[in-house]
């Protein structure tokens, strides 16, 4: 009895500091690799093995990052990129969801659309870039349409599979309980297919993000991070390029952490459907 209380007291008094230490150690563990890589980078940059114009020091990159941010150039590029990403993705989500669900519900729609989708989907989206540029002219329209076109396929595929994976028995029991078509869709099919649909949206957004940078380089848009990087190359502004890459990494990480992972948690945890699906 005595022992238990002392242990409890000890653990209570030692609790906060130990937790604090634990947290600091975790932070340190995450920061340490970057320090090592940064140090190696600095040594190479300062050693003069490569011209400094091509291999800027981290200070140079930081300075140009701050300067470009203050002058408002970098935020403008970043905002335009994000808007392009979202508008292309929104288009893809609307068309892809409508088509995918239609294909899942109606055998006729599936027979008609599936061959076209399976022919067009495996071709890397970037291969269409020059074609889109010729058809729609260089600039905003071609870029957004291309991003939409590329990210549409994962959405179509997953919403199609999702609707098909809704258990037959749910549909039949809803039918026998007298659900009309609209209610059936709203309360049975949509929730049943949602995990797949969200997966599709996540994949589509990731795909869109991966190719958007290249599209911006090729499509001659006036603003955008891809264009910033590509344009900076002409003037050997390696530090500006690096600053652009850093911003791209930050946007990518934010998408990953706050969009993709949140979506995944949401589907798996809240709906608790992943198990019932796979079994």
């Amino acid at each position: 009895m005595q022992d238990v209380t002392t242990i409890a007291v000890a653990s209570v008094s030692g609790g906060p500091t130990r937790a604090g230490q634990e947290r600091w150690r975790a932070i340190w563990r995450n920061v340490f690799p970057f320090l090592v890589v940064g140090a190696i980078w600095e040594i190479i940059a300062w050693s003069g093995a490569f011209p400094r114009k091509l291999f800027p020091t981290l200070e140079d990159v930081a300075v140009s990052l701050v300067q470009l941010t203050i002058s408002g150039i970098l935020p403008h590029h970043a905002v335009d990129t994000v808007i392009r990403l979202l508008s292309g993705f929104a288009l893809a989500a609307i068309v892809g969801l409508a088509l995918g669900m239609l294909m899942g519900r109606s055998q006729r729609a599936e027979d008609i659309c599936l061959p076209l989708v399976s022919i067009l989907a495996p071709i890397p989206g970037l291969a269409y870039t020059p074609l889109f540029l010729l058809w729609f002219g260089p600039g905003e329209v071609a870029a957004v349409l291309l991003v939409a076109f590329v990210s549409m396929f994962p959405v179509i595929y997953n919403s199609w599979t999702g609707v098909k994976a809704v258990k037959e028995i749910w549909i039949r029991s809803a039918q026998s309980m007298g659900a009309d078509r609209r209610r059936m869709f709203r309360y049975v099919i949509l929730p049943g297919a949602l995990p797949y649909i969200l997966t599709g949206l996540r994949l589509g957004l990731a795909q869109a993000w991966r190719i958007l940078v290249a599209v911006e380089m090729l499509a001659a848009v006036p603003w955008g991070l891809g264009w910033l990087i590509f344009g900076a190359r002409e003037f050997l502004n390696t530090d500006a390029m690096m600053a652009g890459v850093v911003v791209i990494a930050v946007i990518g990480l934010t998408l990953e952490k706050y969009v993709f992972q949140k979506l995944e948690d949401y589907t798996v945890v809240r709906w608790g459907m992943m198990e019932s699906m796979s079994s």
Partner: protein
Amino acid sequence: MTNQKQRRRSIVRAVITLAVAAALYQAVALSGYFPPVLMPTIPTIGGTLRDMLADGTMFEHAGATLYRVLFGFCLAVMLGMSLGILMARFKAVENFFLPLVSALMPIPSFSLVPLFMLWFGIGNLTTILVVFYAATFPMLFNTWSGVRAVNPLWLRAAGAMGADEKKLFWKVIIPGAFPFIITGMRQAFLRSWIAVVGAEMIAASDWGLGWVIFDAKEFLQTNVMMASIVVIGVIGFVFERVVFGSIERATVQRWGMVRMAKG
């Protein structure tokens, strides 16, 4: 019976759809609503494809692209697999590399193309490195999770039966992680295939399917573009279905692991 009928009807409908789509395209192309240079007819595209195959240019472009993509892909598989296994087996390696990998992974490979162009010039090296960058992460991540997902019961059983470290690795861990590794290879190849086309367009060299598409734009040779897109699609399809499909059949399915991997 009805199932068979259903399937036959699906096939008939698929053929009809494709025929209708082709006919529609052909009609629009012939109508002259769009200039024929921008929208070549299907026979024109077919003829261009045949000519390019006959005089061997298409093979050279495809060969250059395949060389780049396979070179980068093999490098990525080697690095991704070994680092993934090391990360899963040793906590220290994982602690060091995981933060780096998670920071680098969301950077699209294309954003590094201009930088690589400055550093390594235009041509094979840049393209291969971009492919390598794009393919490494899916490979690494899948290997890592595959090795960690090996059933601990198997490890203990093999240990109890007297397997040493080397045997444990080759006979238990690698086969156990193989379904994940195959998935990683598939994803990695898909990414490299996208990366190589894009990298060839931006960091243009003299050969390559991506380069030829982009170059044809300058001369408004839409037929060449379309023919190359067809070839790109066919090669990608062949790799995905034939190559990786047969690897999967020869290993994972024969070992009877696919169900376990999924369930």
